[in-house]
């Protein structure tokens, strides 16, 4: 095989599936888990991991787009709680209201996300401040709506979907596939997707190229809000009710999955494929620890350590590249970084 071909095959893989090393880690974890953790290599366990990972995957796909534009969305946890309680409140156990409830819920999430995006893009407020504030507001609304208690119930047909398997595959995973396909298609095959990368890469240049950076940012936050609300519907299939704090922890888990999946926080680099790898890594860490009977307390510590490891690994490789360029150019700092490296 001539070299250019193999290189383009790798770059195509990275564009659709994310960095090779993320999937190497996923593969290594599967092998290590099968060898070292009792009850890991069972079909039922793989199904359980898949089912547990889907709500996080839905949230993290939206988060990926926000981070690609150079922002961050901390309000996804509250948005998920909103989606969970609102959809269950609207549905209230009625089969006929399923689509109506899901539609309204996703619209509410879109609207709330778009509002955050509007403030970020128009008023130039740092996105994590806006979304942390929005998280407070949305959570307050959820508490007011639910009177701080369990609220509503899913339609009978949804109740067991969260734990059902279609053939060997979890139902939720199969339902996720169309969403994932659309996200990947938007990311790689549409003008909107290219605008997202351009905005995150360098907003000033994107603006000069005629891209409405404002619109791109608003759209990304709207997508994140809508998907987080949708994840709230998904999680109700597992919880069987609306819980005002259903989303707790999803904010940091989503950011973790995106960052482990190779999407750069400064924007413009990465994608949904890697995020799915990141989600699987987070889900498998939880699964390992559950199977070993390790308390959720230690799981939090483990997640922190994993992010540290990912951050250090990422920074280490970047530092090496930078050092090499500095050696080549006999220049410290940014001048070398801005120019493309040769050799």
């Amino acid at each position: 095989m001539p070299r250019p071909d193999s290189r383009s095959a790798v770059s195509a893989f990275q564009r659709w599936a994310g960095p090779v090393w993320v999937w190497t880690v996923v593969g290594a974890m599967v092998v290590a888990g099968s060898l070292g953790v009792a009850d890991f290599a069972l079909l039922s366990n793989f199904q359980a991991v898949g089912q547990a990972a889907v709500p996080l995957a839905v949230v993290a796909i939206g988060e990926t787009f926000v981070i690609l534009t150079g922002g961050i969305d901390i309000s996804v946890a509250a948005m998920l709680s909103l989606g969970n309680t609102l959809s269950m409140g609207l549905m209230a156990g009625h089969e006929g209201r399923v689509w109506f409830a899901i539609l309204l819920t996703v619209l509410a999430g879109l609207a709330a996300g778009a509002t955050s995006g509007l403030i970020v893009a128009k008023l130039r407020v740092p996105s994590f401040i806006v979304t942390l504030g929005a998280a407070n507001i949305v959570q307050g609304i959820v508490f007011a709506y639910t009177k701080q208690g369990t609220y509503g119930s899913p339609a009978p047909s949804l109740v067991n979907l969260g734990y059902a398997n279609w053939g060997p595959f979890p139902a939720l995973v199969i339902l996720l596939l169309p969403l994932l396909a659309v996200a990947l298609w938007v990311q790689n095959r549409t003008r909107a997707g290219r605008h997202v990368y351009a905005t995150g890469g360098d907003p000033a240049i994107a603006r000069l190229a005629g891209i409405s950076v404002t619109r791109v940012r608003i759209a990304a936050f709207a997508a994140s809000g809508g998907l987080a609300a949708l994840a709230g519907v998904v999680i109700s299939m597992r919880l069987g009710s609306g819980e005002p704090l259903a989303g707790t922890g999803f904010d940091w888990d989503a950011v973790t999955a995106v960052v482990i999946g190779g999407t750069a926080l400064r924007g413009g680099k990465g994608g949904v494929g890697g995020t799915i790898g990141g989600v699987l890594i987070v889900a498998m860490i939880n699964d390992f620890m559950n199977l070993q009977g390790i308390s959720t307390f230690w799981q939090t510590v483990a997640k922190g350590v994993v992010i540290f490891a990912a951050v250090i690994a990422g920074a280490g490789t970047e530092l090496l590249t930078r050092r090499r360029r500095q050696l080549l150019r006999h220049l410290p700092g940014s001048a070398a970084r801005e120019a493309p490296a040769h050799g």
Binding site: I137, G140, F143, T300, G304
Partner: protein, 331 residues
């Protein structure tokens, strides 16, 4: 000495620099928060007759002290162009460790305080070295630290924190000297110390130099790593101090003692004139920002709104406050 005066000259030049309009803008950045506070006091007085009672005002001050100390630390990190989202969970960890290690014994106050301060220094050192040496993203780095600290607090307490504070220790937040809360006096001392170091010493001015332009600071021979690391260590140590005042104030500990503090501290710093990216602001503005936030939340209490209204008001106030300042800075 030569380098010290060079840095000072540079600091002065920075302050003198720019047109009168820019300077006015910078002044507003620092003083605007005090105008906002004054306006808020007027509004609060009109809305609730109880607001101006001495007990209520002293309560606001007492409540503000822990967060104000944390916000000063956060402002230092933001000043060097960094960020620390782990402060909330460091407050919680400080609270639960203090409440157990003290074990109802006055003799153990000092060792306990030294222990938590050492933990704080270690946390700050880790954050700072990663950010400065490896150039990791401050947000993700401190996010990872946040999860580690949160997990550590849960592992340490198994979810049910002890409450073995001594009466003597609690005096730092609940006691009075001639009608003035001890915590406020302590705070004034801490504030004076931090203000002096920041404004009148070389290491303090270096924070501005590094935050304003890292590359220029590096080329003019300022030690980047040491400066950035010291900002993170100062932030974490101040956060621990804030945590000590908090646990002495509330008396009991629970696992959510510091929840929401990262947002509040960062918002207070930004409202008080700090700018993400660094190089701007001081430690006075953030204290004003904390007083604004505490006063708003106090007002929510006074007019007896339901508990969740606090979330709405806090979120709205933070977004509005920071948005206002971002607007001013654009001009």
């Amino acid at each position: 000495m030569a380098s010290s005066s060079a840095v000072r000259d540079w600091g002065n030049a920075l302050r003198r620099g720019g047109t009168a309009r820019v300077r006015l803008g910078q002044e507003l950045e620092t003083y605007g928060v005090w105008f906002a506070l004054a306006a808020l006091v007027v509004v609060s007085t009109l809305v609730s007759p109880e607001f101006l009672h001495t007990t209520n005002l002293l309560n606001i001050l007492r409540q503000s002290v822990p967060l104000a100390i944390v916000a000063m630390g956060e402002a230092l990190v933001i000043l060097v162009g960094g960020f620390d989202v782990s402060v909330g969970n460091l407050v919680t960890l400080t609270a639960v460790i203090t409440a157990r290690v003290m074990a109802d014994s006055n003799a153990r106050i000092l060792p306990t305080v030294l222990l938590v301060l050492a933990i704080g220094a270690l946390v700050g050192l880790t954050n700072g070295l990663l950010v400065a040496k490896l150039r990791t993203d401050p947000f993700v780095t401190t996010l990872a630290m946040m999860l580690v600290l949160q997990g550590a607090a849960y592992v340490y307490t198994q979810g049910s924190p002890a409450n073995d504070l001594t009466h003597g220790f609690r005096q730092i937040s609940v006691g009075d000297v001639g009608g003035v809360p001890i915590s406020v006096l302590c705070f004034l001392g801490i504030f004076a110390l931090v203000w002096f170091v920041l404004n009148r010493t070389v290491p303090g001015r270096r924070l501005y130099a590094v935050g304003t332009n890292r590359r220029v600071a590096h080329l003019s021979g300022q030690p980047l790593t040491r400066t950035i690391v010291s900002a993170y260590v100062a932030c974490s140590v101040l956060t621990v101090v804030g945590g000590l005042f908090l646990v002495a104030w509330i008396g009991t500990t629970d696992m959510s003692a510091g929840s929401g503090w990262a947002l509040q501290a960062i918002a207070a710093a930004l409202i008080g004139g700090a700018a993400i990216g660094g190089g701007r602001g001081g430690v006075g503005g953030p204290v004003g920002g904390v007083l604004v936030l505490t006063t708003i939340l106090n007002l929510v209490d006074l007019v007896a709104l339901p508990n969740y209204a606090k979330l709405l008001v806090e979120g709205g106030a933070v977004i509005a406050g920071v948005a206002l300042y971002s607007q001013r800075r654009k001009e």
